[in-house]
């Protein structure tokens, strides 16, 4: 690209993008039309038996071919290593797992992930609940404005969020600190600190988590606020008449009624945090003892070309997710029984 591109230099890109969009969409409309057409070539009885599959088959094919089957392949790959001579994957049993668990760096990566799981979902739910509760008492206009502002980070990418937070966490070797946190520290008479490199008490890790909590709290707040508003007025009034304090009303009356929502928010954030990647990748690249599974996976595959180890890392991640998966299916079944 030259220094001063005029609008016409983008024309090929634009034309290509637009035609790609058009062709992609038309092709899939045509796919469904074709499937429906083919089904109806059959005699009526057969056609009506095949009809449902004309609707769900593309999804089953897409999910089967690009989600389920590759996942199975990943599990297989986790038991292989790359042959240095032929470049092929050779079965090697538990070698990848053994070498991962023998590596202290990887153990600290696992520990970091555990820390993320312990801190971020709980903090997001508690903060979301706090904001949902207090915003319920301040009147509609203030509530609306405050909620919009706190919800806004939902629209921001992890990468853009990382650039924003650099204006807080930045460290300059010189005298002038343009990062807010260091300006406060030096303003109070302290010395500027390279925040992203402080591993004491996992400080750098915790500061990264703050970014993700900042991003997730809005989501948690919106859902919990809706749940709080759905709590029947009578139950709260009855508690007040019975002389319950505000605190008692909250913990004994409101909280039990929004528990299901809180759990579902917790799990949604938890799943997101388990595979956290972008923020760590953009802020520290996994250095300074902040590595997590998502970053370790990408590094092993793209930087070290170690397909087997990268796959083993993902398998460990999936093992951690299986209990959540069982819970999801179980609660879906329970919900269906209630219908």
């Amino acid at each position: 690209m030259d220094q001063q591109p005029d609008i016409f230099s983008y024309l090929p890109d634009l034309v290509f993008a637009l035609s790609a969009i058009g062709i992609g969409v038309l092709a899939s409309i045509f796919l469904y039309w074709l499937l429906n057409f083919l089904v109806n070539l059959f005699p009526r009885r057969v056609a009506s038996a095949l009809q449902p599959y004309a609707f769900i088959a593309p999804v089953l094919a897409l999910v089967g071919g690009f989600l389920v089957w590759p996942t199975i392949q990943t599990i297989y790959l986790s038991f292989t290593t790359t042959d240095p001579d032929t470049g092929e994957q050779k079965f090697s049993g538990f070698d990848n797992f053994n070498s991962l668990f023998g590596d202290t760096d990887f153990l600290s990566t696992l520990f970091n992930n555990l820390l993320w799981i312990l801190v971020v979902p709980a903090a997001s739910v508690v903060l979301g609940l706090l904001i949902a509760t207090v915003s319920n008492n301040v009147g509609p206009i203030r509530e609306k404005v405050a909620k919009s502002i706190i919800f806004l980070p939902m629209a921001i990418s992890f990468v853009a969020a990382s650039t924003m937070w650099r204006f807080l966490y930045n460290y300059d070797a010189g005298n002038v600190q343009v990062g807010l946190l260091n300006a406060i520290v030096t303003g109070l008479g302290g010395n500027a600190v390279p925040w992203m490199q402080i591993t004491n008490f996992k400080l750098n890790d915790l500061l990264l988590m703050v970014i993700v909590i900042w991003l997730n709290t809005g989501f948690s707040m919106v859902l919990l606020s809706a749940a709080i508003k759905a709590v029947p007025e009578e139950t709260v009034e009855a508690a007040a008449i019975d002389g319950a304090t505000g605190r008692q009303t909250f913990f004994k009356i409101v909280l039990p009624q929004i528990r299901a929502t809180a759990v579902s928010v917790f799990i949604t954030v938890l799943i997101g945090v388990m595979k956290i990647f972008d923020v760590v990748y953009a802020m520290t690249g996994g250095n300074f003892d902040t590595n997590v599974l998502g970053v370790a996976f990408i590094k092993n595959y793209f930087e070290f070309g170690d397909t087997g180890k990268a796959s083993a890392i993902v398998v460990l991640l999936m093992l951690a997710i299986i209990p959540i998966m069982i819970y999801q299916v179980y609660s879906y079944r329970k919900q269906e029984e209630l219908r």
Binding site: Y10, D13, L14, G24, V25, S28, I29, Q51, P52, F55, I56, P58, V59, L62, V63, F66, L67, P70, T71, Q73, L130, I131, S135, V138, R142, V145, A146, I149, I150, F151, L152, A155, S157, A160, S162, T163, M164, R166, F167, V176, Q177, V178, L180, W214, F219, L223, T261, V265, T268, K275, Y281, A282, Y301, T307, A310, V314, M325, V329, Y332, R339
Partner: protein
Amino acid sequence: MSRTLTFATRLKKFRLGSSLTLLALVILWLIPTVGLFVTAFRNKDDAYSSGWWTAIFSPLTQHWTIDPFTQALNANNLVSSFISTVAVAVPATILPIMFAAFAAYGFTFLSFKGKEVWFAIIIGLMVVPMQAALVPVLQLFVGFDSWIGDLQMNNPALFQWIPFWDPNYPWHITGEYPAGWIVHSAFAMPLAVYILRNYMMTLPHALIEAARVDGASYYQIFWKLVIPMSVPALASFAIFQFLWVWNDYLVAFVFVGNHPVLTYTLLSMLGQYNQGWQIVAAGSFFTLIVPVVVFFGLQRYFVRGLTAGSVK
């Protein structure tokens, strides 16, 4: 009587406390956004000689400028990244919605063998991380490319009649838009089917049955009845998916490498400190315009979709 009075006063006290707590939280939440916004309009000397908050507290001593924007746009292919991002995000939003709507319709209104089991599997797949499938899918695309590349090299006669086909640029999928569409669609599918099916369950079955009696095919009913009635759910999922794809880094980085998207370009700008803070800030600001406009413009649908999906 006295008891209700004390409760009312307590509530009023609580209201003041609530307002102050909320105000404090809102200020905290705004700090990163304001920092970015302010820095994007400062000149380089200002950005390096003082923190962005000085620009807020003494705005008159600042050299306000839009230079960071022109510099960011000229030097970093941000405009072409913007086009690439649109080309990834728009089909990666429309396609999964259409696929999922068809499947949700099948799961809601048609009966077939193993329906419950298929659906339970889809629910379980909602939580599978995309990293799980990433490597084999990439290998699949690469394998496809070498197959179709050989085919084009060895049998050019098969392809020569196709307009725009150029043997020097053989067809391939890795690194191109369709790879991103397929991967985004596949990973969005479980959640999309789940949300749309939950919504379609609330539509009146009697209406669909009446249309059947009148001789409409299931295909016609889908386009003429179910889709128009499902617009709220379709809209809220569309917003959700669009924001997700627009803000995604991983899939774009791995699968659409030939067309750098905004997150990719922004991350590479972050790696080049010599560019200057104000330019990075302006670049970030530029990547945020579309998602923030979509978000505020359609927030109502977005919130409705979120709450409909989870609070039940």
